[in-house]
């Protein structure tokens, strides 16, 4: 049964791919007005593409099949983006074609690489490490001071509702235009989530395990190192993951407030003002890829460190 389904699905995919290739050949020259023929063909292909995604989604399946559906959907979106831009002759200012963005990524890779170094390797990485490290250190330091915990925790929770990135102009004033000011904003943004997660994580070890440590005559430090910190790992990693995204946002937005002539946020804001949207999209692709990659790396690391956690063992 599932074999026949898979074959049917393959047929749909082949037909859709063939149609896509045909439409591609039929597209008008750049600048020329498209006739009704390609438009109708495009609409027909849209239906076909929808059907193919539906077929792949209907396969009952393992994990990679679910991912295949998403990948196919993404592929179709990029394809129709490209075809739509060419068919309707959409001005570049509104929406550059993916091919244009791709060629811009290749052409200006040196610019984007410099931006990447400035924003990600300097501001984000240093700020993220410092902010998360400080949050963790303070969390552990006040572990034995419940009074401070009760005082800091509500305030730390409150900061998640406050637009902290707005300190960027002050950071620029204090630390200058270069990456130091962006790193300062990132430190501020990442500190509190880590503090909250550390405090919550240190409470995560069960009473039974603590009493076991006590019966081993383990002191505070021993219990902390061997029981409570390992038990806190899932909390710490979820904060690290949240902070990775927050750090990217903080650094990019802080660059909107003033920066040297390099950096992803600077590139996005100045090239958008100059209507060079292809390069803006290029910078966004770099930022998005960085974010996903950082997240994936943290997930991998978490699997190695917190392999014992039920949510990981379940897979």
């Amino acid at each position: 049964m599932s074999g026949r389904r898979a074959i049917g699905c393959g047929v749909w995919l082949l037909v859709a791919a063939f149609g896509a290739a045909l439409l591609w050949r039929w597209l008008p020259e750049p600048g020329a007005q498209a006739g009704p023929g390609p438009l109708l063909a495009c609409a027909a292909l849209l239906l076909l593409a929808g059907r193919s995604v539906q077929q792949v989604a209907a396969l009952d399946g393992r994990r990679w099949q679910a991912l295949a559906t998403a990948a196919l959907f993404g592929l179709w979106v990029v394809y129709f983006w490209q075809v739509g831009v060419m068919l309707f002759d959409v001005p570049r200012v509104l929406l550059p074609a993916p091919s244009l963005i791709g060629s811009m990524l290749v052409e200006r890779w040196d610019t984007l690489a410099a931006d990447f170094v400035q924003t990600v390797l300097k501001a984000v990485l240093i700020g993220w490490a410092l902010g998360s490290g400080l949050g963790f250190a303070v969390g552990v330091a006040i572990d034995r001071a419940p009074f401070l915990q009760r005082g800091l925790l509500p305030l730390a929770n409150l900061t998640s509702t406050v637009p902290l990135v707005a300190v960027a102009p002050i950071a620029v004033m204090w630390f200058g235009f270069d990456w130091q000011s962006k790193a300062a904003v990132v430190v501020l943004m990442t500190f509190f989530p880590m503090l909250v997660a550390t405090l919550a994580g240190l409470q995560a070890a069960g009473k039974l395990e603590r009493e076991l440590m006590h019966s081993y005559a383990a002191g505070y430090t021993r219990t902390l190192l061997d029981l409570r910190l390992p038990a806190a790992m899932p909390f710490l990693f979820s904060a690290l993951k949240i902070n990775a995204t927050l750090a990217l946002i903080g650094a990019i937005v802080a660059e909107f407030f003033g920066s040297p002539t390099v950096g992803l946020g600077f590139r996005i804001s100045t090239e958008a003002a100059r209507m060079n949207m292809a390069l803006v999209w290029g910078a966004i692709v770099v930022a998005a890829a960085t974010g996903s990659l950082a997240y994936a790396l943290l997930v991998l690391l978490e699997r190695r460190v917190a392999f014992w956690h039920p949510s990981i063992r379940a897979e």
Binding site: V53, Q54, V56, A57, A58, T69, A70, L72, F73, G74, V93, L94, L95, F147, L148, Q149, R150, G151, L152, P154, L155, S160, T161, V162, P163, V165, A166, V167, A168, P169, I170, V172, M173, W174, K241, A244, T245, L248, I249, I252, V253, F256, F257, L264, G265, I268, S269, A272, A273, M277, V280, W281, A283, I284, A287, A288, G291, S292, A294, Y295
Partner: protein, 298 residues
């Protein structure tokens, strides 16, 4: 129930005292930092030359400078108070006016983003195709700095002729929309199999199941995401005010403050935006308490 009521004053003092003392410590630190950071400027510009001043004069002048590196808390409070009291509500010198402008675009975007997120989540829950094709992308977008797209949205909407609230609300909308969608998908799937089967034995239609079972069970998931969403929406609306050369709004206020080196102005705008963010989140939390209480009572 009576037990919790009786415990309340005790718990209040237990919670309030630590917070108050931490706040006090922050305030003291702020004053010390203001003295330290402003001392060089005060010695150079304000005080008598050749060291002809006392320590008291030095401290007093560092705390009341025109353009301090770090304004002292009472300067910020005074600036806020003056802007709220001395000027009418519709004057651009009143910070409440700017907060109102930002709040307006935040709220419009928040409502639209929430509606969009709920509708999309309902569609995803009912369609296997959407679930498999779209949901992974929405989840993945949580790891991506979506705020970076703000300038593009502004340019596109600007060249299509949209101005004023619409572009800012759009950015606030898409920042709200992602967390709401992810949480609602989780929430709408929260009912157990036994519950959906019970609805089935009642011959409930899909719509009835959605309305009577799935939506109520999704509410506890929805509200935390709404709190995340509205806080993100405030950031989005403020960032959207930066590149447009907007005249009004807290983001524009921050930018003009940093252009003219008006540090006290920046800090009071910062305090105002913190109040706005915390206030809007508190409002959502209030609605949450109201709705969930009514839900559990009925």
């Amino acid at each position: 129930m009576t037990g919790t009521v009786a415990m309340k004053p005790d718990r209040l003092s237990q919670r309030l005292l630590p917070v108050a003392s931490v706040l006090l410590a922050v305030l003291l630190l702020w004053y010390f930092a203001a003295v330290g950071l402003n001392a060089a400027g005060a010695v150079e510009r304000v005080l008598a030359p050749n060291g002809a001043y006392t320590t008291g004069e030095l401290i007093a002048s560092t705390l009341n400078m025109q353009r301090p590196v770090l304004p002292s808390p009472h300067q910020v409070v005074a600036d806020l108070y003056r802007s709220l009291v001395d000027w009418p509500l519709d004057s651009p010198r009143n910070l409440l006016y700017h907060a109102g402008v930002t709040a307006q675009s935040t709220l419009v975007g928040f409502v639209l983003g929430t509606l969009l997120g709920i509708v999309l989540a309902a569609a995803i829950v009912h369609s296997r195709t959407l679930d498999r094709a779209l949901l992974p992308w929405i989840v993945a977008s949580q790891t991506v700095p979506v705020l970076a797209i703000a300038p593009i949205v502004l340019v596109i909407l600007g060249s299509l002729g949209f101005e004023g609230v619409a572009p800012k609300a759009t950015i606030a909308m898409y920042l709200c929309f992602f967390p709401v969608t992810v949480a609602m998908v989780q929430g709408l799937r929260a009912p157990q199999r036994i519950e959906t089967e019970l609805m089935h034995t009642y011959a409930a239609s899909r719509l009835q199941t959605f309305w009577l079972l799935r939506l109520p069970s999704a509410l506890p998931f929805l509200f935390p995401s709404l709190r995340v969403g509205i806080a993100a929406g405030v950031v989005g609306a403020m960032v959207a005010e930066l590149p447009t050369g907007a005249q009004a709004g807290l983001g524009a206020r921050l930018l003009t403050g940093s252009y003219y080196g008006n540090t006290v102005g920046i800090w009071s705008a910062l305090v105002m935006s913190a109040l706005l963010g915390a206030g809007l989140t508190a409002a959502v939390a209030g609605v949450e308490r109201l709705v969930l209480r009514r839900g559990s009572a009925g």
